[in-house]
Subunit: 465 residues, 2 copies
């Protein structure tokens, strides 16, 4: 790709478009924008710009498109696939000032927000009105809702409430050439030509920049019950997962955690939880609804199922404080792994009944390549996050040999009917693995779509393919 380097003339013009105080070029200010949460990767942009509204975003894009300057859009910077890294330098367009909750429409159970709103801030705002927006990634306290759209983010509650795709009704977006469109309508149904809203979800900021989002909300369930179930092996825990659904219960969360991960998070966050001496893995199971008797009945069913799968202990969170503690075990897990070791995270997903085979296979591949791993994730969706730990691996093996091991993990995942990312996206770090899942025919369709939206290839270049 042939991009133009940023010069003083460009800088002056961009300052004109968004205001002197919203354009940064000094190393100290742009450092933060050289990284996201993906390993230790760092790519410095030449310039960071923080537009305040769609008009400014449009003007910036128009200018950059005309001058062949690459633009990398950025949300909260919590991505795990390097999607927000400006690998070709140029401009990082941060959405942090596009941060208004424009409307919570209680008549239609809809909300309109800007992309820079922190996911949890939005969830809290709708919760106050008795409503639920159920898409809550682990990073909900710092990620932006626009980034969630770009990555097709998930979270624990997808298993009951459906994916993020079910909650997005409409986007206002700026195309790479600066044109502004609404992609759909503020309606629950839509059969009016190709669905660009759905195409943009998960497109990782390579097709357009989202400037407004219209979301569907649902009534907030009034009660929930949370259980922690201990199992002697990973396979037992994973096998229990699909059995719970087959028994007719759809939990509102069903999370898998390996023993070592729990030990790390307990130590890291000084949590008050004792891992059962014989437990190799835990399932965190939540059911929710409006009637406690029904929820107790669900729990009895779950109890019966996990017992059949050699569960050795079921803990019941009997206060909101204890619920918060159980959830912390899961939510802080990613950070505690990161703090403990150099690691790489892979975001596999398979049909959920194939989870036991996946977990077993991962450990076998680890043995063959000499790496250890800590696994956890949204087991109810068949979505397993594999944290590969450097531990005693040599730098040489970590750098060169590991790649082949990861390739084998993805090959196994695809063989089991799965794919190479469930909710983190492809971004920069998974793109070399795309041919494991996709034929050249398939990749060319994706490339063709990119060309339609972004003929100059200036928007988030170097990602996905």
């Amino acid at each position: 790709m042939k991009f133009n380097a940023i010069n003083q003339k460009h800088i002056n013009k961009l300052k004109q478009l968004c205001g002197e105080n919203n354009v940064f070029t000094d190393q100290e200010s742009v450092y933060k924008y050289s990284k996201d949460e993906t390993e230790d990767l760092s790519f410095f942009p030449d310039l960071v710009i923080k537009p305040k509204n769609v008009r400014e975003v449009s003007a910036v894009m128009k200018y950059c498109n005309e001058h062949l300057i690459p633009v990398t859009p950025r949300g909260g910077g919590t991505g795990l696939s390097g999607g927000a890294l400006p690998v070709y330098g140029g401009v990082v367009l941060s959405t942090e000032r596009l941060n208004s909750i424009i409307e919570i429409d209680e008549r239609n159970l809809q909300a309109t927000v800007e992309p820079g709103v922190i996911t949890e801030v939005f969830m809290d705002a709708v919760s106050e009105k008795g409503l639920l927006y159920p898409v809550d990634p682990s990073s909900k306290g710092s990620c932006f809702i626009g980034g969630n759209m770009a990555h097709g983010s998930g979270g624990p509650r997808v298993v009951k409430y459906g994916t993020i795709r079910e909650y997005v009704l409409n986007f206002e977006v700026v195309l790479p050439n600066g044109d502004i469109i609404w992609t759909g309508a503020n309606t629950l149904k839509y059969a009016s030509g190709y669905n660009l809203t759905q195409l943009l979800i998960g497109s990782e900021g390579t097709l357009a920049i989202i400037t407004k989002i219209v979301l569907k909300l649902i009534p907030r369930p009034q009660h929930n019950i949370l259980l922690m179930c201990a199992f002697p092996t990973n396979e037992d825990a994973c096998a229990a997962v699909s059995a719970i659904f087959r028994a007719g219960v759809t939990p509102s969360a069903l999370e898998f955690m390996e023993r070592r991960g729990l030990e790390w998070v307990i130590e890291y966050d000084k949590l008050n939880f004792s891992v059962h001496v014989d437990a190799q893995a835990y399932l965190l199971v939540e059911v929710d609804g409006n009637d406690m008797d029904m929820l107790f009945a669900d729990c009895e069913v779950i109890n019966g199922v996990v017992e059949k799968h050699r569960c050795i202990e079921v803990l019941f969170a009997d206060s909101s404080i204890q619920k918060e503690e159980f959830w912390k075990l899961r939510r802080v897990l990613p950070v505690s792994v990161k703090s403990n070791s150099i690691y790489k995270e892979e975001d596999t997903v398979v049909p959920r009944a194939n989870l036991p085979q996946l977990v077993k296979g991962i450990k076998e591949i680890g043995k063959a390549y000499g790496f250890e791993s800590v696994c956890y994730g949204h087991a109810g969706d068949g979505n397993l996050h594999i944290n590969i730990i450097k531990a005693s691996m040599t730098d040489e093996d970590w750098k060169n040999r590991l790649k082949d091991g990861i390739k084998e993990i993805f090959e196994l995942t695809v063989k089991l009917g799965g794919t190479i990312s469930g909710e983190h996206g492809i971004g920069l770090v998974q793109k070399d693995f795309m041919p494991i899942k996709y034929s050249e025919i398939h990749l060319n369709l994706m490339r063709g779509i990119k060309q339609v939206f972004d003929p100059n290839g200036i928007l988030n270049p170097g990602k996905i393919f």
Copy 2:
């Protein structure tokens, strides 16, 4: 578009590809394929072909693409927007022999089906296993599940269970040049590049031919309660709709029916139901779940809400026979309208709280243009089917003046935050109205995507744009 006319050489070759007995060219055999359920439109294809498997579909497409022969894919022929009409002649590719339920995977709560399976046949098959596939258009007894995918079809249960998009995991498709790909993975989550599965849903057979579908299933709820609520005006009934959701109840169906429609269906199908003398409109409300007490509690809430909206009568279906009768009122309504008068059906959808304004506006536009209308539809989704009745309109007005009235209806729909089709698609008959909703910029993105998939423009030409 420059297509080649079909000659004897083409016919012979196509017979070679799919077998002598699966290719038809005589007027009597192809007559059925000249029509769908859209008004009285009829376009004769030159040839109808009925491939049995993906290999045959691929061979047909490869041949037609190379010889620039237009191909119109066809499901059950129940479409209401003319999507299956071969407006350029050429080949109709019927999926009627691709009619296997390949697998119902109870471990993963998934199923794999071919596109020619009748929707209700599939629903019954999964129901026998205690599972639910909730997407049930009115035509479920004769429409094909592949056609449901192509049109992004809905039905009454979308309001609780989500759109068809939430249930499709993966497609096997044949591209216009004969290439075969799987568009996604058999997983509940998917963040691995552009989501072609979602792009193909609702693309009306213009991008690829679906040959296999992997679907998500859910546990079937054990109980339901069905109510018929009578209101003195359309506006009262419509206003009650959004109030029910605001009261915290999500019904599994919430259908609106105008008095005249009910009178017609009762007469047409000899149904045993008396319309309340003061009723102008009815809501059919269903709640479902696993606990009868909870459902009764929901019904009490609903009762309170409809009373506040001047409901004059609530009828409770107290047997499965009566439930079937109530549902018949809604399901047979489209057919009874069709048998009663020359009509045109428009498939508007708005944010549900705007329904009263939409219904009121339609009647006012009708008065101005001299047409009558019967409205019904999935009010819980804000999705209203408007049946415009010729009645006493002159042929001249019906042919020429009516178009301006329909344009006004769509303009109002878009002004109310809605769009010109919620679940029927654009097809042939709505494409002239696309500019009401979309700018040229937006339409060009759609055209660009079409060009990527189908550079020769042979697949279902003349539809959407």
